[in-house]
C-alpha cells in the first residue's frame, strides 16, 4: 500500500511540530524519516498511524483517505521505541493480541503466532514474560506482534534507539532482510543518519517541522540541497559559507605546486578510518579523512607539516 | 460520555451537594448570625482548644515522626519490618477503638496508674495516636531516596555528624516534614471518634470543636453547628494550602 501525507500541519500550543508537510511513500518501499529531535518526524509518523490527528492536511493509505479513521481501524502496525510490551502477558499472548481482539479462531491464532515467532527467531520463548527478555528480543517481539495482523503498513518509531550498539547493528540488518522477505510498506523514524543510510531505500530529511530533502542515501550524500542536509548526513568542514567533506581533503605525499600547506594538530585513529585534524596557514581548522593505509604510508603524526589539496567547496544559495 | 456523567453525579451527591448545603446553612441569617454562633463562649473555647492542641500535637509529630522515619530507614534491627507495618495501625484502626484502647491503658483502672481520662492530656494523646503515620510516611520515602553521597561529601569536607544532620539531611527532609505536618493538622482538627470516650467532652475544659458541633446537632441547633463546622473546615484547608505551598517552595531548592 502506498502512503501519502498531504499538506499536514500540527501544532502543540505555540510550538509548530509540522508545517505543511507532504510525503509520498511507494507501495512496498522502505523509507526513513531522518532528523534531529524536534524536527517533527515522530509526530508525522504518529499522524500517519492515527495516534495523533493533524490540524490541517490529510493522510491517504492505499488510495483511501484515512484522516478521520481511528488508529485501530487503519490497519497499521506500529513499533515503539521502548517496545510497549504488555507486561502482564506472555510473549505468545503479546503476539496473539491483535488476532484475539479480532476474535480469530484459536487454531488460526496458534498457527500464526508460531509462524511469526519463528520469523523473528523467538521460538522457544513463547511462554516467557517481557521482564525476562533482553531489549533486542523485546523489539523483535514487538515486530512480530505488529505483523501478526498483517498490517498494510509498518511504522517504527526510533525502533533501535534504546538498544546497545551491537544489538542495534544486528537488528538493522535484520529489518532490512525482513523487509526484503515481506515487502510491507515500511516507514521508520530515526535521528541516526548512519542508520537511515544503511537501512532505507529512501530518506526524508526533516528539520523544524519541514522537509529539507527527499532522496536515496547516495543522492543525499552527494547532492545535498542545503547546508542542513549536508551537515546532518555526513561530516563536514565549514569554511565560511562553504562546505567541504573531510574525505575530499587530499593529503599529498609530495607538493605538486598547486597545494596548500597545513599542519597536523591531531591524528585520531577510528579503526579503519583515520581522522586528521589540520590547521591551515590562515589559522582555520579543518579535518581530513584517510584510510589506515594512507596514514601509515605517510607516517602521519602531530606537528607534521604537509601539502594538502582542497577541492572546490560547496556553497548553497542563501 | 456516559461514564463522565455518572462520575459527575456520584461526586455531586457525595461531595458537592452536602458541602454546598453546609455552606448555605452557615450563611443563613447572614454574617451577623454567623458571627454570633462562632463567638459564643463555648464555641470559642472549643475552637481555641482544638487549634492549640492540634498545633502542639503536630509539632511533637514533626520531631518524633522524623526520628521514627530515620530509624526505619537507616537502622537495622530484628522485627523492623513488623514495626514498619505497625506504623499504619492508626490508619487502619477505627477511631472509636483507638479511644477505647488508649483508655484501657491510660484511663481509669490503668495498670500503670496513669489516669489522664477527662483531661487535655488525653486529647493530645488521642491526637498523637491518630496522626502518628502522617509525618513518618511522608518522610520515609524521601529519606530512602536521599543521595548518601551528599552526606559523604560533607563528611570528607570535615563536617561532624551533627552538622551533616543539621545542614545536609534535615533541609532535604523539610518539605516532606512540612507536608506530613499539614496532613496531621487537618486530621487532628477534625478528629472525633477517638476523643468521644476519652475526654468526657466537658465544655470549656476538654470539649473540642468536633465534639461541640456534634453536641449542637444533638440539640438541633444546626446553624451553630454549621457555623463552627465552617470555621474548622476553613482552618484545616488554610493550613493545608499554606503548608503545601511552603513545602513545594522548599522542595524546589532542595531537589
Amino acid at each position: 500500500m502506498a502512503i501519502e501525507a498531504r499538506n499536514v500541519s500540527k501544532r502543540f500550543g505555540s510550538f509548530t511540530a509540522l508545517d505543511d508537510v507532504s510525503v509520498t511513500v511507494g507501495d512496498g518501499a522502505l523509507m526513513a524519516l531522518l532528523g534531529p529531535s524536534g524536527s517533527g518526524k515522530s509526530t508525522l509518523l504518529r499522524i500517519i498511524a492515527g495516534l495523533e490527528s493533524p490540524d490541517e492536511g490529510e493522510v491517504v493509505i492505499g488510495g483511501e483517505s484515512v484522516t478521520d479513521t481511528p488508529a485501530r481501524s487503519r490497519g497499521v502496525g506500529f513499533v515503539f521505541q521502548h517496545y510497549a510490551p504488555f507486561k502482564h502477558m506472555t510473549v505468545h499472548n503479546n503476539v496473539a493480541f491483535g488476532l484475539s481482539v479480532r476474535r480469530r479462531p484459536k487454531a488460526e491464532i496458534e498457527a500464526r503466532v508460531r509462524e511469526l515467532l519463528g520469523l523473528v527467531r523467538l521460538d522457544g520463548l513463547a511462554e516467557r514474560y517481557p521482564s525476562q527478555l533482553s531489549g533486542g528480543q523485546l523489539q523483535r517481539m514487538a515486530l512480530a506482534r505488529a505483523l501478526a495482523v498483517q498490517p498494510k503498513v509498518l511504522l517504527l518509531d526510533e525502533p533501535f534507539g534504546a538498544l546497545d550498539a551491537q544489538v542495534r547493528g544486528e537488528l538493522r540488518e535484520w529489518l532490512r532482510r525482513l523487509h526484503d522477505e515481506i515487502h510491507v510498506t515500511t516507514i521508520f523514524v530515526t535521528h541516526d543518519q548512519e542508520e537511515a543510510m544503511e537501512v532505507a531505500e529512501q530518506i526524508v530529511v526533516m528539520n523544524a517541522g519541514r522537509i529539507e530533502q527527499t532522496g536515496t542515501p547516495r543522492e543525499l550524500y552527494e547532492s545535498p540541497a542545503n547546508e542542513f542536509v549536508m551537515s546532518f548526513i555526513g561530516p563536514v568542514n565549514r569554511i565560511g559559507d562553504a562546505y567541504l567533506r573531510p574525505h575530499d581533503v587530499e593529503i599529498l605525499a609530495h607538493d605538486d605546486g598547486a597545494a596548500t600547506e597545513a599542519m597536523i594538530k591531531r591524528v585520531v585513529h577510528l579503526g579503519f578510518e583515520v581522522r586528521v585534524e589540520l590547521t591551515l596557514p590562515d589559522g582555520r581548522d579543518i579535518s581530513a579523512q584517510v584510510t589506515r593505509a594512507t596514514a601509515h604510508e605517510l607516517e602521519l603524526h602531530e606537528g607534521q607539516i604537509l601539502p594538502v589539496r582542497l577541492p572546490q567547496p560547496r556553497v548553497f544559495a542563501a | 460520555m456516559l461514564g463522565k456523567g455518572l462520575l459527575g453525579v456520584y461526586l455531586s451527591v457525595l461531595v458537592l451537594l452536602p458541602v454546598a448545603a453546609l455552606l448555605a446553612k452557615s450563611g443563613t441569617g447572614g454574617a451577623s448570625q454567623f458571627w454570633r454562633e462562632i463567638s459564643s463562649p463555648e464555641a470559642v473555647a472549643a475552637i481555641k482548644l482544638t487549634l492549640i492542641v492540634s498545633a502542639i500535637v503536630v509539632a511533637i509529630n514533626a520531631v518524633f515522626g522524623t526520628i521514627i522515619a530515620w530509624v526505619l530507614v537507616r537502622d537495622e534491627f530484628p522485627g523492623k519490618k513488623i514495626v514498619n507495618a505497625l506504623i499504619d495501625l492508626p490508619f487502619a484502626l477505627p477511631t472509636i477503638v483507638a479511644g477505647v484502647v488508649l483508655l484501657a491503658l491510660y484511663g481509669k483502672g490503668s495498670p500503670v496508674g496513669i489516669n489522664v481520662a477527662f483531661t487535655r492530656t488525653a486529647i493530645a494523646l488521642a491526637l498523637l495516636f491518630v496522626t502518628l503515620p502522617f509525618v513518618v510516611r511522608s518522610v520515609q520515602p524521601v529519606l530512602h531516596e536521599l543521595d548518601v553521597s551528599m552526606e559523604e561529601a560533607a563528611e570528607s569536607l570535615g563536617a561532624g555528624p551533627l552538622t551533616v544532620l543539621r545542614r545536609i539531611v534535615l533541609p532535604s527532609l523539610t518539605p516532606a516534614i512540612i507536608s506530613g505536618v499539614a496532613l496531621s493538622f487537618a486530621r487532628a482538627v477534625g478528629e472525633f471518634g477517638s476523643l468521644v470516650l476519652i475526654t468526657g467532652n466537658l465544655p470549656f475544659k476538654t470539649e473540642v470543636g468536633s465534639v461541640y458541633v456534634f453536641g449542637q446537632i444533638q440539640n438541633e441547633n444546626l446553624p451553630a453547628a454549621a457555623a463552627v463546622s465552617v470555621v474548622l473546615l476553613a482552618a484545616a484547608l488554610v493550613v493545608l494550602a499554606a503548608l503545601t505551598l511552603l513545602s513545594r517552595r522548599r522542595s524546589k531548592h532542595v531537589l
Partner: protein
C-alpha cells in the same frame, strides 16, 4: 533499604572496615553506637507507649476473664446485627468507590480538560473535613428539613436515619483512596501499551479491560484495602446520620461506643477486638501489596 550500607556517619551502623584507627577512633565508634542505640530506643519507646502497649492492653482486658464472656458477647444479637450491618455497608460503598476511583484516575491522567486541579482537590476534600462535619452536611442536604428533604419525602426515599444515608456517609469518608492509589500507577504505566493495543485493533473498552486494568491492578487493590479499612472504621459521620438505633442502624464502631457508655465493658472490648483484628488483617494486606506494587512498576 540498601542505602543504609554506607549511610550517614551520624546514626547508621558503621560499615565494615570503616572503624577509625586508634583510641580516638574507638571512642568515636562507641559514641556513634551509643547515639545510634539512643535514637533507636527513643523511637521504639515512643511507639511502644503510644501504639503497642494500649493495643496489647485491650487484648488482655478482653480475655482476662476467659473466653466464655467473649463468646457470649459475640453471640449477642445486637452485636451480631452491628457486625453484619457494618459488612453490608462496606459491601456497597467499597465497590462504588472503586469504580469511581478508577474512573477518576482515568479522567485525571488520560483525559484532556481544564480544571483538573480543582477536580483533584474535590476528590481529596474528604481528607480535610471532620467526619462530624460530613455527617452534618449530609443531614443538611438530605435530611427532612434539608435541601432535598421534601423531594425525598415525596418519593418515599429515606436517607437520613437509615442505611442509605449511612452508606453515603461511609462512601464519602473513604472516597479518595482508590483514586489516589491508582493515579500514580496509571501515570507510571504510560500510554505506550495502550496505544499499541489501539494500533492492533482493540476498542477503547478492550484496551481498558485487557491492557490498562491489569497494569494498574495492584494500585487498585491497595486502594481497595485502604477504602475497606476506612469504611469499616467510620464512626463520626455515621454516628450523626444513623440515629444510632441499636439493632437497626448501629454499626460495629457505634456498638462499641454504646456498650462502653452503658458500662458493658466486655461487650465493648470484644467488639473493639474484632475491629482491631480486622485492622491487623488490613495491615498485613497493605504490607504484602506494597511489595507487589513496587515490584510490578520496577519490571
Amino acid at each position: 533499604m540498601s542505602s543504609s550500607a554506607s549511610g550517614s556517619l551520624a546514626l547508621s551502623p558503621a560499615p565494615a572496615g570503616r572503624a577509625a584507627p586508634g583510641r580516638d577512633g574507638q571512642r568515636a565508634d562507641r559514641a556513634l553506637r551509643a547515639r545510634k542505640y539512643g535514637v533507636r530506643t527513643v523511637a521504639l519507646g515512643y511507639l511502644a507507649l503510644l501504639l503497642l502497649a494500649p493495643v496489647a492492653m485491650i487484648f488482655y482486658r478482653t480475655f482476662e476473664h476467659g473466653l466464655t464472656p467473649v463468646f457470649d458477647a459475640i453471640g449477642e444479637p445486637n452485636a451480631q446485627h452491628a457486625f453484619w450491618l457494618s459488612l453490608e455497608i462496606v459491601a456497597i460503598s467499597v465497590p462504588l468507590n472503586t469504580i469511581f476511583g478508577i474512573g477518576m484516575a482515568l479522567l485525571l491522567e488520560r483525559g484532556r480538560f481544564k480544571g483538573k486541579a480543582l477536580l483533584g482537590l474535590l476528590i481529596d476534600l474528604p481528607f480535610a473535613i471532620s467526619p462530624v462535619v460530613i455527617g452534618l452536611a449530609l443531614v443538611l442536604a438530605y435530611g427532612k428539613t434539608g435541601w432535598l428533604g421534601d423531594w425525598l419525602a415525596e418519593n418515599g426515599i429515606q436517607v437520613i436515619f437509615s442505611v442509605p444515608g449511612m452508606v453515603i456517609a461511609t462512601a464519602i469518608v473513604s472516597l479518595p483512596f482508590v483514586a489516589r492509589e491508582t493515579i500514580p500507577v496509571l501515570r507510571e504505566l504510560g500510554t505506550d501499551a495502550e496505544q499499541a493495543a489501539s494500533t492492533l485493533g482493540a476498542s477503547g473498552w478492550q484496551t481498558f479491560w485487557r491492557i490498562t486494568l491489569p497494569g494498574i491492578r495492584w494500585g487498585v487493590v491497595y486502594g481497595v484495602v485502604l477504602t475497606t479499612a476506612r469504611a469499616l472504621g467510620e464512626f463520626g459521620a455515621v454516628s450523626i446520620v444513623s440515629g444510632r438505633i441499636e439493632g437497626e442502624t448501629q454499626t460495629l464502631p457505634l456498638f462499641v461506643q454504646a456498650r462502653f457508655e452503658n458500662f458493658d465493658v466486655t461487650g465493648a472490648y470484644t467488639a473493639a477486638v474484632v475491629l482491631a483484628l480486622l485492622a491487623f488483617a488490613t495491615l498485613v494486606l497493605m504490607n504484602l501489596l506494597t511489595r507487589r506494587t513496587r515490584a510490578d512498576t520496577a519490571a
